[in-house]
C-alpha cells in the first residue's frame, strides 16, 4: 500500500508545534460573558432557599440562574447513542444537590473578577441530609441518591433508583458450579480500582454564541458533536435544528470529553441572554466535578486444573457511579466482556454479574479502557497469582489458555476471533524484556530488587450494533478532495489516518485531501470518537465513500471521453481511453463536474458493524524496587500490540506509549481520596500526581499486525487497549520483588514500604 502503513505527519502537526491559536479559548469570541458555577459544599442536601439579590448587584453581572429557572426535564450527560443506557437523572440545576461540587447556580458576567465576587454573595440555605459515601452500602440504603419520581431509565439495564441501583445485569455460559466443583483448584480474590482522572492537559470548556439565523452555536472541546446537539436540545427544550455543535482542536480527551460536562451551562446562558458566553473549568473543577473512571471492586474466581488448564471464570464487579449514572451500565459490562475472553482457550463456563450503584460522590464517566481496565487488572493479577500457586511460569500458563485466531469467544457475545496474534504478542513481549533470565527477580544487594511482570489485554473496535460512522468526500474543481467527518481528532490523529485511507482508495497523496469537521452543520452523522471506533467504523465509511466517488469520477471521465467505462485506465490523476489514447486529467473532471453536470462528485457513506473485533496486546515490565522507600523505578516496558493493520506506525506507537504512561500513573501514583464529609482531596495536579517524563522509564513498542477481515484495510483499534496492561504487570513485578500481593490501586511507595517493613524478617 502506498499511503496506508506510512509514517505520515499529522496534518495539524506544524500548527500545533508552533503554538498557533487553534483551541477553543484561542478562537472563542472575544466578548464572551464569563460563566462560572456555584458548587455545593455538601455531599447531600436540599436547597431550602437561595438568594441572589445582592450578587446581582455586583457591577458587570449579567445573569444568575438557580434551580427555579431551568426546565424540569431530566437528561443524561453521557455521550451515547439514543436510547442511552445511562439513566436520565440530571437537571441543569437541581434543588437536590448530590455531591460536594454539584452545581447550585450559574453566574455569568462581564469578567472573571465580577463573577468571582458574585459567587461569594449568593446566599444559600441548605437542608443538609445524611450522605451515602460508601458504595458497599448503597443497595437498599435508606439514603436515596435519586428519590425523585421523574428519574428515568430508557433501557432495560436493571436500574432501580429507589434502591440506589443504576444497573444490575447477569450473563453466564456453561455449567459454572459443576466445572468449579470438578477443578483441582479454585482461587478467588477481590481487587479495587479508584475513580482516577483522565487529566487531559486542556480542561473541560465550551463557548457559545448566536449565529446569523438566531441559532445556538456550541463551540466545545468535545469528542461527540452530534450527541452534544441531541443532549442540549433535550435539556434546553429546543429543536435540534436550532443548535449547531462543533469542535476546534481538542487538548486531549481520553473519554472525559465523551460526556457533556460543561456544555449545558454556557448554552443555557447564551440561549437566554442571546450573548456569547464561555465556561472554562479550572483544574480544580475538572478534578472535583469532571467525569472520571468508575471506582470498582472486582471479585474474580478462576477454576483450574493442576496442569494449568483454566476452565471456569466468575467475575462480579460492584461499580460506584457516584451521584449520576453517566456511562454506569456500559462500563460495568466491559469489565467482564473485555477481560475473560482472553482465556477462551480452555474456557468451559463463565459468569459475569455486576451492580452499578449510586453514592454521594463525584459522578463518573468514560476513561480510556472504559471498565475493561478494571476487569483486566483483576483477572490478570489473579492469573499471575494462580501461576505462583501452580508453580508455573506466568507466560507458559497464558500460552496454554489464550484465545487464538479462529476460536469463538462465548464470553464476548460469541464473536469469532477472526484476527488474533495474541500468543505471538505474549512471546515477543517476554523476549523483549528478557523474561527467561529475569523472572521473577534479582536482588541487587543494595536494598534494591529488580523484577519483572507481565499481562495481556484486549478491547473492542466499536460498539457493535450501535455505532455509526460516516464520511463525505467531494472532488474540488482543481482536483483536490474534501473529506468531511464528525469523528473528533483529539490528538489521536484520526484526521490524518482517515485521509490516508481516502488517499489510498483514490490513488492520491494525503496532501491532496483536506479534512473538515467535526461540525453538525457540515459533517455527516457520526456517533463520535469513543469506544475505539474511529479507525474501524468511520474508516470503513471513508473507504466506501472513496470507492463510490472513484466510480463516479470514472463515469464522468468516460462521458467526457465518449468512451465505455470499461475502456478507461485511471491512475488517480489521469483517465485515459485505452482505445483512442485520449485522456482527461482529474482537474478537467473537477471542472466538468461544475458545468452542465448532474452526476454529483460528492459521496456520503455510513458504516456500522455487528461485530467489534478485539485488538490484543501483551505488556511486560522490568522495575527496580527500593525496599526501604518503596520507590518503584520503571526500567523498561515492552509492549507488543495486535491492532490489525497499522495505518500510521508513528501515531500508533504514540498511542501505545501515551496509554502506557497513563496506566503507569494510575498504578503507582494517581489516587482519589475523600474526607468523611465527602470532599475530594486530590483536587489539583499538586495532589493528583500524573507521571512526569522521569517516571515512565523506557517504553518500547512493537506490533504484530493481524488482518481483520471486517475492518478497512484490515484494521482494528488501538486507542484504549494500551492503558490496560500496566496495572497487572506492575502489580506482579512488585509482588516478585517484595512477596506481597497488592490488590488495591494505586500501589504507592508508602504501601510498598509499609509492606516491606512489616515483612522484614520473613
Amino acid at each position: 500500500m502506498r499511503v496506508v502503513g506510512q509514517r505520515i505527519r499529522k496534518k495539524d502537526a506544524m500548527q500545533l508545534v508552533t503554538g498557533k491559536p487553534v483551541y477553543m479559548d484561542d478562537v472563542a469570541p472575544k466578548d464572551c460573558l464569563i460563566v462560572k458555577i456555584l458548587r455545593s459544599p455538601h455531599a447531600n442536601a436540599l436547597i431550602e432557599d437561595i438568594n441572589i439579590a445582592t450578587a446581582m448587584k455586583v457591577p458587570g453581572i449579567e445573569v444568575i440562574y438557580t434551580w427555579k429557572d431551568v426546565p424540569n426535564v431530566r437528561f443524561a450527560q453521557a455521550g451515547q447513542t439514543y436510547p442511552e443506557w445511562s439513566p436520565y437523572d440530571r437537571l441543569i440545576l437541581d434543588q437536590h444537590v448530590r455531591f460536594v461540587g454539584d452545581a447550585v447556580a450559574i453566574v455569568a458576567g462581564e469578567n472573571e473578577a465580577c463573577v468571582d465576587r458574585a459567587l461569594k454573595m449568593i446566599k444559600v440555605k441548605y437542608k443538609v441530609l445524611p450522605a451515602l459515601l460508601d458504595y458497599h452500602e448503597s443497595i437498599d440504603n435508606e439514603i436515596l441518591v435519586h428519590p425523585e419520581d421523574n428519574w428515568e431509565s430508557l433501557y432495560p439495564v436493571g436500574a432501580d433508583n429507589k434502591r440506589n441501583i443504576c444497573s444490575h445485569m447477569e450473563e453466564s455460559h456453561g455449567d459454572l458450579e459443576g466445572t468449579f466443583a470438578d477443578c483441582d483448584i479454585v482461587l478467588e480474590r477481590t481487587y479495587h480500582v479508584p475513580a482516577v482522572n483522565q487529566a487531559m492537559m486542556e480542561t473541560f470548556r465550551t463557548a457559545c454564541y448566536i449565529d446569523t439565523y438566531g441559532r445556538l452555536v456550541v463551540l466545545s472541546s468535545t469528542q461527540i458533536v452530534y450527541h452534544v446537539r441531541r443532549i442540549l436540545a433535550r435539556a434546553l427544550g429546543i429543536p435540534q435544528s436550532k443548535i449547531r455543535s462543533l469542535k476546534p482542536r481538542i487538548g486531549g480527551g481520553f473519554g472525559a470529553k465523551q460526556t457533556v460536562v460543561t456544555e449545558i451551562y454556557p448554552a443555557f446562558v447564551t440561549w437566554h441572554t442571546k450573548k456569547p458566553s464561555k465556561l472554562i473549568y479550572s483544574r480544580y473543577e475538572s478534578q472535583i466535578a469532571g467525569s472520571p473512571r468508575h471506582e470498582m471492586d472486582i471479585r474474580v474466581k478462576i477454576g483450574a486444573d493442576k496442569d494449568g488448564t483454566l476452565r471456569a471464570f466468575d467475575l462480579y464487579n460492584l461499580s460506584n457511579t457516584g451521584a449520576y449514572g453517566d456511562h454506569g451500565p456500559t462500563t460495568a459490562g466491559l469489565t467482564g466482556h473485555k477481560s475473560m475472553p482472553l482465556y477462551t482457550g480452555n474456557m468451559e463456563a463463565f459468569r459475569h454479574v455486576f451492580d452499578v450503584v449510586y453514592t454521594n460522590t463525584l459522578a463518573t464517566g468514560a476513561y480510556r479502557g472504559y471498565g475493561a481496565t478494571q476487569g483486566i487488572f483483576a483477572l490478570e493479577s489473579l492469573v499471575n497469582e494462580l501461576a505462583d500457586i501452580l508453580h508455573m511460569d506466568p507466560v507458559e500458563l497464558r500460552l496454554k489458555n489464550v484465545v487464538r485466531e479462529g476460536m469463538v469467544m462465548p464470553a464476548y457475545f460469541n464473536e469469532p476471533a477472526a484476527s488474533c496474534r495474541l500468543d505471538e504478542c505474549l512471546v515477543r513481549a517476554a523476549e523483549m524484556i528478557g523474561w527467561k533470565d529475569k523472572y521473577p527477580c534479582r536482588d541487587m544487594g543494595n536494598g534494591k530488587v529488580r523484577s519483572v511482570g507481565i499481562a495481556m489485554a484486549m478491547q473492542g473496535s466499536c460498539i457493535s450494533y450501535v455505532d455509526v460512522g460516516s464520511a463525505t468526500i467531494s472532488l474540488n474543481e482543481d482536483g483536490s478532495y474534501r473529506l468531511a467527518i464528525a469523528a473528533a481528532d483529539m490528538g489521536t490523529g484520526c484526521d490524518t489516518i482517515l485521509a490516508q485511507m481516502a488517499a489510498e482508495c483514490l490513488e492520491v497523496s494525503v496532501d491532496e485531501i483536506f479534512v473538515s469537521g467535526a461540525d453538525t452543520d457540515s459533517s455527516p452523522y457520526d456517533s463520535g470518537s469513543y469506544a475505539s471506533s474511529t479507525t474501524y467504523i468511520t474508516g470503513q465509511a471513508v473507504v466506501k465513500a472513496a470507492t463510490e466517488l472513484k466510480k463516479r469520477i470514472c463515469t464522468l471521465a468516460a462521458r467526457m471521453l465518449e468512451c465505455d467505462v470499461d475502456d478507461l485506465e485511471y491512475d488517480g490523476h489521469v483517465a485515459k481511453d485505452i482505445k483512442t489514447g485520449k485522456s482527461v486529467t482529474l482537474q478537467d473532471i473537477g471542472f466538468k463536474a461544475q458545468c452542465f453536470n448532474d452526476l454529483a462528485l460528492q459521496v456520503t457513506e455510513s458504516h456500522t458493524s455487528p461485530v467489534s473485533p478485539p485488538p490484543y496486546m501483551a505488556g511486560a515490565v522490568e522495575i527496580e524496587l527500593d525496599k526501604e522507600t518503596g520507590h518503584v523505578e520503571i526500567l523498561d516496558y515492552a509492549a507488543v500490540v495486535d491492532c490489525g493493520t497499522v495505518v500510521n506506525p508513528n501515531l500508533a506507537t504514540i498511542q501505545v506509549e501515551g496509554g502506557l504512561g497513563q496506566g503507569i500513573g494510575m498504578t503507582l501514583f494517581e489516587n482519589i481520596q475523600y474526607s468523611d464529609k465527602g470532599v475530594l482531596r486530590n483536587n489539583s495536579l499538586m495532589q493528583y500526581k500524573i507521571p512526569t517524563r522521569r517516571d515512565v522509564g523506557t517504553l518500547r513498542v512493537e506490533f504484530k499486525p493481524s488482518y481483520e477481515p471486517t475492518g478497512p484495510f484490515g484494521v482494528k483499534s488501538i486507542g484504549e487497549i494500551v492503558i490496560n496492561t500496566p496495572a497487572p504487570a506492575l502489580a506482579q513485578a512488585i509482588h516478585n520483588a517484595t512477596g506481597g500481593y497488592f490488590r488495591d490501586l494505586p500501589i504507592t511507595s508508602e504501601k510498598i514500604a509499609m509492606y516491606c517493613l512489616e515483612h522484614e524478617n520473613e
Binding site: A13, V17, P21
Partner: protein, 157 residues
Amino acid sequence: MIVSIQLNGKKIVDDISPDMTLFKFVREHGCYSVKCGCETTNCGLCTVFFDGKPILSCAMLAARADGHRVETLEGLQKEAEEFGQFIADQGAEQCGFCNPGMIMNAIALFRENPEPTDDEIKRYLAGNLCRCSGYEGQLRGIHAFMEYKKQGGAACE
C-alpha cells in the same frame, strides 16, 4: 497600574490590575500559544521567557514584568518550527496542548546546554507535563533534533 513590558520585541504599555498574572497578560495581548493546565505551577504549559529565562507565567504577576523582556512562542517561530518538525516527525505532538510550553523549555535547554544527556533532558523538562505522548516520542524527537544540529543544521538562536 501602568506597566511597560517588552513582549516579543514590542514595547507594550498597559493599565493593568495589580493582581493580573503574566499568563493572563500575554494571552490578552494575543499570545495564544501560552496555555494553562493547572493553577498550581505543576504543568509547565504556561512557560514563557522572562529576560531570556524560562518561567511559569501563571505564577508571576504581570506587574513584576514591568520593565522586563517577555517572550512567547509567537516570538520564537523560527526556532519553534526548526525544533517542532522533529516532534512532528514522531507524531509526538498528539493533542499539542502541552507543546508550546515544552518547546519553549526545550529551546531554553539547548541554549544552555546544546548537547544534553538523556538524564539532563528529562531533568530539565520534568516540569513539562504531557498526558498524551508518554514522553518517549518527545525524547526521540529531541534526539533527532540533536543529531540534525550535530550534522550542521542552522544554529539555534
